[in-house]
Structures are given as structure tokens and as C-alpha cells.
């Protein structure tokens, strides 16, 4: 699933490790999310949405 995580992270000037710390996950997890190869669970998607202060659907775009 496509997402804007890399852009949102860059806007805040966070490294992958910074975002990983804020989400309490590993840096590999952040990388897998950003490349769109791993789709997060709903709890993790909500955590991301809260962290960026944005609705989930503006972070993740389903390609239907």
C-alpha cells in the first residue's frame, strides 16, 4: 500500500530511527512501512496517524 510516511517524516526532519523511537518499533519496521512492502496493523496505523496529527486515509492510499 502506498503511503506518505517518508514525506511526513522528512517534513519533521526526523530520521527513520527517530520515527522508530516514537512508534516504539525497530528501524527496519519503519523502513518496511515506508517502502510500502509491509502494511501496518490498525493499531499501528492509528498510532502513526496520532503521531502525525492526520487522518489515516491521508497517510495511506489504497490503490483501488
Amino acid at each position: 500500500m502506498k503511503n506518505r510516511l517518508k514525506v511526513l517524516r522528512a517534513e519533521r526532519d526526523w530520521s527513520q530511527a527517530d520515527l522508530a523511537d516514537r512508534l516504539e518499533v525497530s528501524r527496519q519496521t519503519v523502513n518496511a512501512l515506508e517502502t510500502g512492502k509491509y502494511d501496518p496493523s490498525l493499531p499501528l496505523a492509528f498510532k502513526l496517524a496520532r503521531l502525525f496529527g492526520l487522518p489515516i486515509e491521508t497517510i495511506f492510499q489504497d490503490e483501488a
Binding site: A17, Q28, Y38, L44
Partner: protein, 134 residues
């Protein structure tokens, strides 16, 4: 480069794993020594015979606990995939070996080697599974 941090679940896993492996080596050695030198019989032989399996079973439980306790869902997901690969390789390998053993092309292999085979194939699968997400 940022230092790689260990999750609390991984720390607990290692704290449990190393005593279990140490116990395994101690129990295995003691049980073999006793059986060889004292020639026990009956229930004592049963107890000494099964003893080395108990720490190995503990390691299986410790692996299961890690999977249940790990909070990073991506890490959990890649571990489960690696476990499935390990399981597939072990089941396929043991089945093929068994049939070849049946026609006397291969020697008999003790069943206690099945778990190490699972661990090795899972360990080899882990970086390959991770690599797919890079």
C-alpha cells in the same frame, strides 16, 4: 549510525535462552555419564533418558514466549514467516530422508536432530525473509 536497540522481549528471550542451553549441556553430560557408568534400569533409566529433552522443550517454550511478547509487529511477522520456512524445510527434509532410509540409501538419523534442523533452517530463512522487505 544509530546503535541497534534490543527490544525488551528480545532481552527476556536471551535471559531465558542462555540458562536453558547451559542446563541442556549440563543435563545431557550428566545423564550420559550416569547411564554409561551406573547402568541404571527401569524408571530411573526412563528419567535419565528423557532428562536432556526437558531443557530443549524449555527452549521451544522460550521461543514461543518471545513470539507472544514481542511488541514490534513487523519483527513478529518476519519471525513467523521464517518459522514457517523452517517448518517446511524440516518436514520436507525429514519426509524425503525417511523414504530414502526406507530403501536403505541413507542411514538412520536420531529424531533429536529434528529440532536443531528446524532451528538452522529458520535461522537461514530469517535474513532472506527480511531482505524481501528492504
Amino acid at each position: 549510525m544509530a546503535k541497534k536497540k534490543m527490544s525488551p522481549a528480545m532481552r527476556r528471550y536471551l535471559i531465558r535462552f542462555f540458562p536453558a542451553m547451559t542446563a541442556y549441556m549440563g543435563v545431557l553430560y550428566a545423564s550420559l555419564w550416569w547411564i554409561r557408568h551406573q547402568a541404571p534400569e527401569g524408571p530411573l533409566l526412563w528419567a535419565l533418558g528423557i532428562a536432556p529433552a526437558l531443557p530443549v522443550i524449555a527452549v521451544i517454550v522460550i521461543m514461543g514466549l518471545y513470539l507472544a511478547e514481542e511488541q514490534d509487529e513487523f519483527v513478529r511477522s518476519t519471525l513467523v514467516q521464517a518459522m514457517l520456512w523452517g517448518m517446511g524445510v524440516t518436514l520436507a527434509g525429514c519426509t524425503a530422508w525417511g523414504f530414502l532410509e526406507n530403501v536403505e540409501l541413507l542411514p538412520h538419523v536420531p529424531l533429536y536432530l529434528v529440532f536443531p534442523l528446524f532451528c538452522c533452517s529458520m535461522g537461514l530463512a530469517q535474513p532472506l525473509v527480511r531482505w524481501r522487505y528492504r
